[in-house]
């Protein structure tokens, strides 16, 4: 099949464009998603093509962005809501957690909410306190939601299209540092990828690394580095956080016996804590060492000034260091 090379932001844009073209029930709403095309240009060109009725510049009010989208979804539309930065999703948390996630369950499936909430997350871009946050942990904890966090153009495009077609609310997380950094091939024609399955992005025998987002790329870098020292690392890209592909994770752990979980969110109760807990409960007998974590620190936010931001972010170097420790265990 013919392919082309695009970056992550183009992948988002193509998915939105193609789904809007295919299905007139799809609408896009959020702050500055219209003529501005979104602050990262994820929605660039959409309003020109599909008009202001389907591409809505909303008031600056996140609860209404999600709440209106829920109502529209209940009444037959397929809204894709954008929260400008994940850090500003909190005013919408009641609508997401109290409403979107519970509607199918509380009505025994009489109503469902085919809603996608897209939002850029993650740090390392001089965004400071409120343009750097990770929010997958908060939403992964809420049954009824699906949480997707792919990090390559191929995965993003295929999973965003699936998310739009999904009958349930999907929190779709796009690591903003990867938007232009990460390029890759995608097929020319339409394709989708299933929500759920993880990818083994690199095969290895000694240690399993579990990551997603920017950290997945850093983990691949680190794996490459330590491979020269004879340490063979398997890197699992979760892609979908909920529902979690436990099988792929546990199978890899059973093979390698050692685990490193990497995430950018602060350590305490970041999503990787659940991965550790699952492994400690379900694959204990296969473990040859402690389940280690490389994470953001437990401080309230990512600082702005460069030295402190660098100190906050997990890096390929920090991952390498942990891998060496684990290998030596």
């Amino acid at each position: 099949m013919a392919t082309k090379t695009i970056n992550n932001i183009q992948a988002v844009r193509e998915a939105l464009y193609e789904e809007m073209q295919r299905d007139e029930r799809v609408i896009v709403l959020g702050e500055d998603v219209g003529w501005r095309g979104g602050v990262f240009l994820a929605t660039q060109g959409l309003v020109g093509e599909f008009g202001e009725e389907r591409v809505i510049d909303t008031p600056l009010a996140e609860s209404s962005i999600v709440g209106v989208a829920i109502g529209a979804a209940l009444n037959g539309l397929r809204p894709v809501a954008e929260i400008q930065f994940a850090d500003f999703i909190y005013p919408a948390v009641e609508q997401i957690i109290s409403e979107a996630s519970k509607i199918c369950y509380r009505t025994y499936g009489d109503w469902n909410v085919p809603l996608v909430v897209r939002t850029p997350w993650g740090g390392g871009i001089h965004g400071a306190f409120y343009h750097s946050q990770s929010v997958e942990g908060m939403f992964a904890h809420v049954p009824g939601l699906k949480v997707v966090a792919p990090s390559t153009p191929y995965d993003i495009k295929g999973l965003l299209i699936s998310s739009i077609r999904d009958p349930d609310p999907v929190i779709f997380l796009e690591h903003k540092k990867t938007y232009r950094l990460i390029k890759g091939e995608v097929p020319e024609g339409e394709y989708t990828l299933p929500i759920g399955p993880a990818d083994v992005k690199r095969q290895g025998d000694h240690i399993t690394v579990i990551a997603y987002g920017l950290m997945m790329h850093y983990s691949l870098e680190a794996a490459e580095t330590v491979s020269q020292e004879g340490i063979s690392v398997e890197v699992i890209d979760l892609k979908t956080i909920v529902p979690l592909d436990k099988e792929t994770v546990l199978n890899s752990v059973k093979k390698t016996g050692k685990v490193l979980v990497v995430y950018e969110d602060n350590k305490t109760l970041g999503f990787g804590a659940e991965i550790s807990a699952i492994i400690a409960e379900e694959a204990f007998d296969y473990l040859d060492g402690p389940i280690m974590r490389v994470t953001g620190p437990d401080v309230p936010a990512m600082p702005y000034c460069t030295p402190l931001e660098d100190a906050f972010m997990p890096s390929p170097e920090k991952i390498v260091e942990a891998l060496r420790k684990l290998a030596a265990y």
Partner: protein
Amino acid sequence: MASQGRAAVAAKGTKKAPPELTAEKLQEIYYKMSLARLAQERIWLIHRAGKLPYCISGDGQEAAQVGSVYALRVMEDYFFPYYRDIAAVLALGMTVKELMLTQFAKAEDPNSRGRNIATSWSYRRLNIFTHGSPVATQILHAAGAAYAAKMRKEDKVTIVYFGDGAASEGDFHEGLNFAGIHKLPVIFFCENNGYAISVPLKKQSAIENIGDKGPSYGMPGVVIDGLDVLKVYEATKAAADRARKGEGPTLIEAKVPRFHAHSSDDDDTTYRDPKELEEMKKKDPVTQFRAYLEKKGLWDTTREEEMMKAIDREVEEAIDYAEKAPFLPVEELYSWVYYSER
């Protein structure tokens, strides 16, 4: 009655019914109000008898609820009732049996199959949208549903109900703001019973009328006497006409009494004078409407007795049925976390 800009309290006194409200329709309205009243009183009784862990009712608010529903197109327009709207959902076509199945949280409950607390409405066939417990969230859903209707160029109105306390939440502001900007075909119907649990209106709002908040959002605010079912009908009809003509949303505030404590978990003697309640009960919307019908020669004691007997039987049978009906089986704890085609 609707006033653009500043809202105005409607003049007192029962008006002539509009022509489309035939004698039969008027009697039907009265029947629904009476049915709701009796059902609610009975619910309190069975709660007190220890058969229900919890109950909540909207008695005193029947005129507001039934009058507004009758001004709209049942099973066509989009309805977002809130937990106090027992009379509204009965007017929309939920049966008393279904209402009692909800109270007893039984598997046949059409709202949640007994999974959610009583009066958390949802009835897809009747265009009753899903309602949880968090106050005011449904206001945004209604704006979204109206947006979808407008996009599809449907001749359909959305109505959303909420209390006076709900107007304090951010979601009230954001919902009305969104609807005003997009001139959506939606009616925001506030049942102002003067209290949010124990908190009186003067601690919820610096101004007396919730309706007066409409103009901030570019929509008329209409303040009406919620005891008068015909006035409620008329104001709702006017708002619906406006919506259908593409003129946008309306905020209606119906002043109503709350005849019971907030819910069975509440004790209202701690914060309101029993005399206040006594005074309110003298202006009962159901008896008021009965008097109107009698004056018009559309009702009399014989009819009343017959109707009440029938209602009584219906309610008793419903309770009986619901009490004996089965719960969802335990395995259903895990069903419908996600949606799948039936």
